[in-house]
Symmetry: C2
Subunit: 342 residues, 2 copies
Amino acid sequence: MTSPAGGPTAEATPPLRVTVLSGGVGGARFARGMRRHLARSGREAALTCIVNTGDDMWLNGLRVCPDLDSVMYGLAGVHDRDRGWGRADETERVSAELLAYGVGADWFTLGDLDLGTHIARSQMLREGLGLTEVTSRLSSRWDLGATLLPATEHSVETRVRVGDGPDDTLHFEEWWVRHRAAMPALGFEQAGADAAGPGPGVLEAIAEADLLVLAPSNPIVSIGTILGIPGLREAVRSASSPVVGVSPILGDAPVLGMAAQCLTAVGAEVSAAGVAEHYGARTRDGLIDGWLVDTKDAAAVDRLAGSGIAARAVPLLMSSDELAADMAAAAQALASSLRVAG
Amino acid sequence: MTSPAGGPTAEATPPLRVTVLSGGVGGARFARGMRRHLARSGREAALTCIVNTGDDMWLNGLRVCPDLDSVMYGLAGVHDRDRGWGRADETERVSAELLAYGVGADWFTLGDLDLGTHIARSQMLREGLGLTEVTSRLSSRWDLGATLLPATEHSVETRVRVGDGPDDTLHFEEWWVRHRAAMPALGFEQAGADAAGPGPGVLEAIAEADLLVLAPSNPIVSIGTILGIPGLREAVRSASSPVVGVSPILGDAPVLGMAAQCLTAVGAEVSAAGVAEHYGARTRDGLIDGWLVDTKDAAAVDRLAGSGIAARAVPLLMSSDELAADMAAAAQALASSLRVAG
């Protein structure tokens, strides 16, 4: 892959620009895999993750960005591998104090190390910095090997509709974490989306990507929330790169989280093919060109061909960085085949 | 001391209202002593501490109130007895994160348990509650046996003048904690005092007190700051109760903190008698009627008589609650003698 230093081939090969649309934990694992794949390939590359901000919230006067934190911690390698979220070696001394004072939310864990992030972020935001600059400053503490871009700097909050009344909506984290999705979701709304736009660098990262991937994140409240920001969907549709997605559903169940409840709420089929068809083919007013399904869902490949989506069945395992890197490699290979074909 | 329930004596004895003007750690120890003394006496009593807020500051977007916290923690019995400040069993995991992110002040320790207080307080303040109500809510977690009143709800910041230029002032905590008072103080200023007034309940607690005591706190930047809030000095001067102070200087050194540097900066003598004369006799446009000095400073008693101040020499030790209670008892006894004499 490498060429002699200073040789013509080296000069002729610009860095590969890879952009991943990502939710939280699943997106973080995939981003780690992509980073590993790019490192393995030996090709100089620039990885950008556009991260969902729809779950962000003010909690105890502090700005919490669950997905940005999951991706940052995951890429930094300081995430808790057992719980799947938050920091490793975490404690909750501050949270216990807040509860003892009768403040704080007993349903949302604020670990002590995690609180360091929230306090630093909240201070910078209050000083007037945008979330993108704040995220860059926080991320600079580690060698992430990737640029994290908040999908938007505006407040675009994912609300879960649980009834017909005007007030019958909950913040997504409240629905998911506090009520453990016990109330059936009737739909999802993006409060504030009308007045919002993409964050700095987001449109460029999509337009200039050599490879554009939808991570195996929740297609409704993670990737869907990103795409719901005015301008984002159009940017993905008009990207010069092939758009490849990775199924978050294996068999009939999501690998992580509550994609099933979310898909059901919007009337989508809870299957690898169903998610792909929910996104739709770019050639048919949709968003994706290619789609990776797990080997157990190989039957979806033919079905999706009929929907205008080039699917491949590969092992969709992210239980190790190497396996996640294999997934990322498959996504790039699929995109390359589409580029050649196109 | 007790009388038969429902008997005429019980009905005839209203609660003794004791008000203490207090700084941080020294005031907290004295307040514990006063609480112990009142409990020992068997007399029903209501203890109020009017606490200096001049050292309060925003740090990392959180409102820190060093003296209110010292008094609250001290009365709650959760203070660190070895360090003399902060919470017992403290850790600094969050602070380490803040420093790793390149934010935070490495010169001011924010312990994890302490941060719980600051986060809870800051949230309540941002919700629009006044500092007095916030302090009441925070204090309600414990059975303090005392009411804590911030001297003011306004921002009245103690600034230390270290040069002649308009910008040559530092926040007191920055001077004291960060620079360890290495720069000679030329004077002290109260930024914001002109537009400030006493906090809710403060004037009443002074006017209605049966016993009014100046704790052995820093006479310049703790008690002096309280008295510098417009209306406070006049309230103390016109209190119906005798005003008794306890010397923070034993021999030629303060028991705690940097009273010596502060006294020198304002041209006051660093001695038990010097502090009393700095406050001055109420009969001579000053603030105090009585003054407790340590037995080693017994010579000050005669000198102060000449200044119109009734002084008594007693052991001024606060190394245990019992000894601090003895001090508080001496203050009450001195006040009683003055009341009878007056």
